[in-house]
């Protein structure tokens, strides 16, 4: 059986350099986290996997078919994408923004099911109380939750999230990641780019480590969170501490007295 989403030897050239080189992966349902330093190519990989960008070499396949062979309207029923940078040109309310997520499902008028999904999505991201406020008047964290609700309302089997915990406080980060984990357990494919290693270890089923456009390693959090591997990826020494059966990742401070 073809995997849901796969990349085969994908390379991507832009602005005079290779942003990604020879990345191969096969994604199946579950919660995957993409880790790597800034500039490692996390956003580029997500955009290639979403079909928005076309690989310079290699191929991205969705359900076994080249992703470029899908028309945008069909693709929008299969995967949703949360970008890092978001904007809004006209003053919509938060609910109207979330309702845009229903667009791929609608032919004509709004269906009762649409309203149901919108209300559900707002509740899942803890944004119900924001529904009637103008989106542009919301704080960064509130916007992130509304945008996540829009992605949820799109109701796709695949969700690609570029730093979904941006601007969120610790509690909201936990809520978003446990939501992502649950969606993964319920049989969706969630792939999120994150920065926080400990949080990733806590929630993800599989980790992908990206460095300078190459996929260094992939696997279970227990295998991936090895100090040597992390140091290779991020260029700083790390300590991995087991605490009550959970793994915590801490940077190792080389000179005593720095802290």
């Amino acid at each position: 059986m073809a995997s849901w989403l796969e990349a085969e030897e994908v390379s991507f050239w832009r602005g005079g350099r290779w942003l990604l080189q020879g990345v191969s992966l096969k994604l199946s349902p579950g919660f995957w986290v993409l880790l790597g330093p800034n500039g490692a190519g996390k956003s580029s990989l997500l955009r290639l996997l979403s079909g928005e960008w076309r690989a310079s070499r290699g191929e991205v396949r969705l359900e076994g078919r080249p992703i470029q062979s899908y028309p945008p309207a069909v693709l929008a029923l299969k995967r949703a994408f949360l970008p890092q940078q978001r904007s809004l040109a006209f003053p919509y309310t938060a609910r109207e923004v979330v309702a845009l997520g229903r667009l791929p499902h609608q032919k004509g008028r709004e269906h009762p099911l649409d309203r149901e999904r919108i209300a559900w999505a707002l509740a899942e991201t803890g944004a119900s109380h924001l529904a009637d406020r103008p989106y542009l008047a919301l704080s960064g964290g509130e916007r992130t939750r509304v945008d996540l609700a829009r992605i949820l309302a799109q109701d796709t089997p695949i969700l690609l999230l570029d730093e979904p915990t941006n601007h969120l406080d610790p509690r909201q980060q936990l809520e978003v990641l446990s939501l992502a984990q649950r969606l993964g357990q319920e049989g969706r494919l969630v792939l999120a780019a994150l920065h926080d290693l400990s949080l990733a270890a806590l929630f993800a089923q599989r980790l992908l480590l990206l460095k300078e456009g190459r996929l260094l390693a992939q696997g279970e959090p227990e295998e991936m969170l090895e100090p040597a591997l992390l140091e290779e990826v991020y260029g700083v020494p790390f300590e991995v501490v087991a605490h009550r059966g959970r793994r915590l990742v801490l940077p190792r401070l080389s000179r005593p007295g720095w802290s």
Binding site: P72, A73, S87, A89, F90, E96, L100
Partner: protein, 334 residues
């Protein structure tokens, strides 16, 4: 809280219904007013009994108010659609120089084919496409917000286009005596059934097709990438949308010159009335633009009767200050 989406929905339906009722009222008012006033409620009797006002109504007033409605509705709707496609509330066909591009196309057509009037709106549409192509090419790149860049370029292109129109007219007389100020300030004094027949099919066709773009334009509000992720083929949408806008603006300007600010004022009013959902704004813009233009034309005809004010003068005096106010209040966003 539960009630809110239904409230907004109901409110929008209410506004659209009110606007749909306003339009026939405005048409009636427009047909009754003028140098030879006929009471609105007398109109059916005058027509039926063939009284002396009947000829005025049939030959002058009816084509004029209908043309005003078609032109005004088209300008407002193309303004709203242009704002959605370019993702900024700061643009309208007139300000971007599209109207003058249409006028330049029309004037050039008249210079070569003065006796083939059916080509006029199409030549004007080509003029719009030419200016659009130039604008989008010049405005590409980084720097100031896209809306501000487009606006600045449009304002720079406008005097150049005016000069071009003036030059062509200087060399080639217009058989119908349309002057440079007709093209730049607009007016409906040339209205006739023939002109309406020339204008309405193209304008209404473009309007009907534009009305279908509401949902896609809503998605575009989030950005071109987001619209793509929501299933919109963005490139095709922009090409099709700009083509339809060019057809509409071409038809409207070929018939009535540049009636400025209708395309800016009307969408703004509608967003204030019922929010920014394009499905609502586009439909409302056509209705409100039609009504306001019929009323503005009535004023232009009657304020200094028997002299007639250029229609664009009035709309500029109304819309210009509002635009300034918005620009300052919105802090040059866009």
């Amino acid at each position: 809280m539960r009630q809110k989406p239904f409230d907004t929905e109901r409110r929008r339906q209410g506004v659209l219904l009110a606007l749909a009722l306003l339009l026939p009222l405005c048409l009636l008012l427009g047909a009754s007013g003028g140098a030879y006033p006929i009471a609105p409620l007398e109109i059916p009797r005058v027509l039926k009994e063939g009284l002396e006002g009947a000829a005025v109504l049939l030959n002058i007033r009816f084509p004029r108010v209908l043309l005003a409605a078609v032109v005004g509705g088209t300008l407002a709707l193309t303004g709203a659609a242009l704002q959605g496609l370019l993702r900024t509330p700061l643009v309208e066909p007139g300000l971007l120089g599209l109207g003058l591009g249409a006028a330049a196309g029309a004037v050039l057509w008249l210079a070569w084919f003065p006796l083939v009037p059916w080509g006029l709106p199409l030549a004007a549409a080509l003029g719009v496409l030419g200016v659009l192509g130039l604008l989008l090419r010049l405005a590409a790149g980084e720097g100031a917000p896209a809306g501000v860049r487009l606006l600045l370029l449009g304002l720079l292109l406008s005097p150049i286009l005016s000069a071009l129109i003036g030059l062509v007219q200087f060399r080639v007389g217009d058989p119908q005596g349309r002057s440079l100020s007709f093209w730049t300030l607009g007016g409906l004094s040339g209205a006739s059934w023939e002109l309406l027949a020339l204008t309405a099919p193209l304008a209404l066709l473009s309007a009907l097709a534009l009305l279908g773009l509401g949902r896609a334009l809503n998605a575009l509000t989030l950005g071109e990438e987001e619209a793509y992720h929501l299933g919109v083929a963005v490139g095709a949408l922009k090409r099709w949308g700009l083509f339809l806008i060019a057809l509409g603006v071409g038809a409207a300007v070929a018939a009535a010159g540049n009636i400025a600010f209708v395309g800016l004022l009307v969408p703004w009013l509608l967003r204030a009335l019922g929010g920014a959902d394009h499905r609502f704004v586009l439909a409302g813009a056509w209705l409100l633009g039609a009504s306001l233009t019929v009323l503005a034309d009535l004023l232009a005809r009657t304020l200094f009767a028997p002299a007639e004010l250029p229609l664009g003068l009035l709309t500029t005096l109304l819309g210009g200050p509002l635009f300034l106010f918005l620009l300052v209040r919105e802090g040059w966003r866009g």
